[in-house]
């Protein structure tokens, strides 16, 4: 597709198709307006704000430990990423050393979360494609990860592993747990490669997803897309390369060139073995010693920020500390910057592909709805 195809002239377009706020094609509540001409989408507009619960305001003024565990409630898919980043802010602000073993356990949790998030994406993607069998297969292997998460954190969704100074004592990895994780990784690696192989060798699926929802590299950068969505257009960017916690690990950054649904799916599929690789390295070299550093004292700190790479891209948290309480809290999740990419990806395609083009960017509108406006009185 060339750039001109994506040019829009709103004056000419008369037909508008609105989906939402609750719609059968979209599980989460959000609103999409598609401006259609001859069944081709000429412009798309996504409205968020329906989910707004004001979590940043709720966090304002809470003791920092409470605020940290509250960040998990922002998103049920990448809950660990939120609490990890929020704890990192506090650790950076106060200057707390984290034991090496705790850092390794955090990385293991984050990679397990990446596994389950990517598999959920693949399952959701196949469901939107209309291929329910594949959706069930991906849900089936995802269950292995969910069991591991339940074993470590005690809950299937909100596991609350990180605390300031380390990880919760319950999440210590003993011999038994390490063995179980290794077994799980073997199962996932075998199955995911098998399923991925079947997925890409199915001519019907490939015909449906190739060349749909194209996002060019130039546009993706212009729209500030992030994470796998940006990597699928050929930009080699991964914040894990810069993060201190990931220094000891070897892994490849996966990129694809086309920026369509196929590339997006492949990036996520190929990131699964990389995540397994990181988990195996962490288990092999798991250092001994304590998992929590309790010798720190609360102190006031100016606004501190932290960026980490989560399954969907860059996650930003920042707040300042005042008497052990959280002030000026700001959170930016990757989905909010990816909304631009979603709108653009749907343009120029047939209307039946619009939902697929939006889903290819892995939307999570729950995380997105938090922004608050501060009015000075």
């Amino acid at each position: 597709m060339n750039e001109d195809n994506k040019m829009t002239d709103k004056k000419v377009i008369e037909t508008e198709i609105t989906m939402g706020t609750v719609h059968s094609a979209a599980i989460e509540p959000y609103r999409v307006r598609l401006f259609v001409e001859d069944e081709i989408v000429r412009d798309a507009e996504i409205t968020v704000g329906i989910n707004h619960r004001g979590i940043e305001r709720i966090m304002e003024g809470l003791p920092v430990e409470k605020a940290n565990s509250l960040t998990e409630k922002i998103c049920g898919i990448c809950s660990n990423s939120h609490i990890w980043n929020s704890v990192l802010v506090a650790e950076k602000a106060i200057g707390i050393d984290v034991p090496e073993r705790a850092q390794y356990i955090r990385v293991i949790m984050e990679e397990l979360e990446r596994l389950h998030s990517h598999m959920l994406y693949l399952a959701h993607g196949s469901e939107v494609l209309g291929h329910e069998t594949f959706a069930m297969r991906f849900f089936y292997i995802r269950e292995t990860v969910m069991e591991l998460l339940r074993m470590i954190g005690g809950n299937r969704v909100q596991y609350g592993v990180s605390i300031i100074g380390g990880v919760r004592p319950r999440c210590e990895l003993d011999e038994m747990r390490i063995l179980k994780i290794r077994e799980g990784m073997d199962i996932i690696e075998e199955k995911i490669l098998e399923f991925a192989d079947r997925f890409v060798s199915d001519p019907m699926i490939m015909a449906r997803i190739t060349g749909v929802g194209v996002l060019t590299q130039k546009q993706a950068i212009k729209l500030a897309a992030t994470g796998p969505t940006l990597r699928s257009t050929g930009v080699e960017t991964d914040l894990r390369r810069e993060m201190e916690s990931y220094d000891p690990f070897e892994f490849d950054v996966i990129t694809q060139d086309d920026g369509d649904v196929k590339s997006n799916l492949l990036v996520r599929v190929l990131e699964i073995p990389e995540a397994i690789k990181i988990i195996r390295q962490a288990l092999d070299n798991l250092p001994g010693g304590k998992i929590t550093n309790r010798s720190w004292e609360m102190q006031d700190a100016p606004i501190t920020k932290s960026y980490i790479e989560v399954p969907r891209g860059k996650l930003y948290h920042s707040y300042s500390l005042e008497d052990g309480r959280v002030r000026n809290c700001i959170i930016r999740t990757p989905s909010i910057t990816n909304i631009g990419a979603m709108q653009y990806a749907a343009v120029g395609h047939h209307i039946t592909d619009a939902q697929l083009a939006i889903v290819q960017c892995d939307p999570c509108f729950t995380c997105t709805d938090r922004a608050i406006q501060i009015i000075k009185i």
Binding site: A25, P29, N51, G76, E143, T366
Partner: protein
Amino acid sequence: MSLKSYSRARAIHVMLVYTGGCNGCDIEIVNCIFSPKYDAEQYKVFLTWNPREADVLVVTGPVTKHNEKPLIEIYNAIPEPKAVIAAGACALMGGVYKNIHGDIPSEEIAGPVDKIIPVDAKVPGCAVRPEDILSGVVAALPLLLNAK
């Protein structure tokens, strides 16, 4: 057992409405019906997105103000007899989002669910476990099956 309830027992359609929770409960419910491990479809429980087809309405999330009206409309669109299940701490009492500052009412949250529509079964948990959802659906079944 009347013919209607006989056939109804063989195809229970669950509609999931998501009213602003954190996605956690939501995915667990989809998981509980789709994933081969729990596989509610083997008990002839199906997921649907069409209120006119549904027998059971599962509501997750604390019902944000924007979602209040759609929720009532969906509830009214479901034909009788119907059962409503509120799943998750958010749906039961607003979870972490409601009234966290003591008595100051939240500007965003209209919930919990039983303030807006009548609820027949409540499933606790943050996030709910798939096993619990199955037992919640089972608890609501007599309502559907004994109806005339």
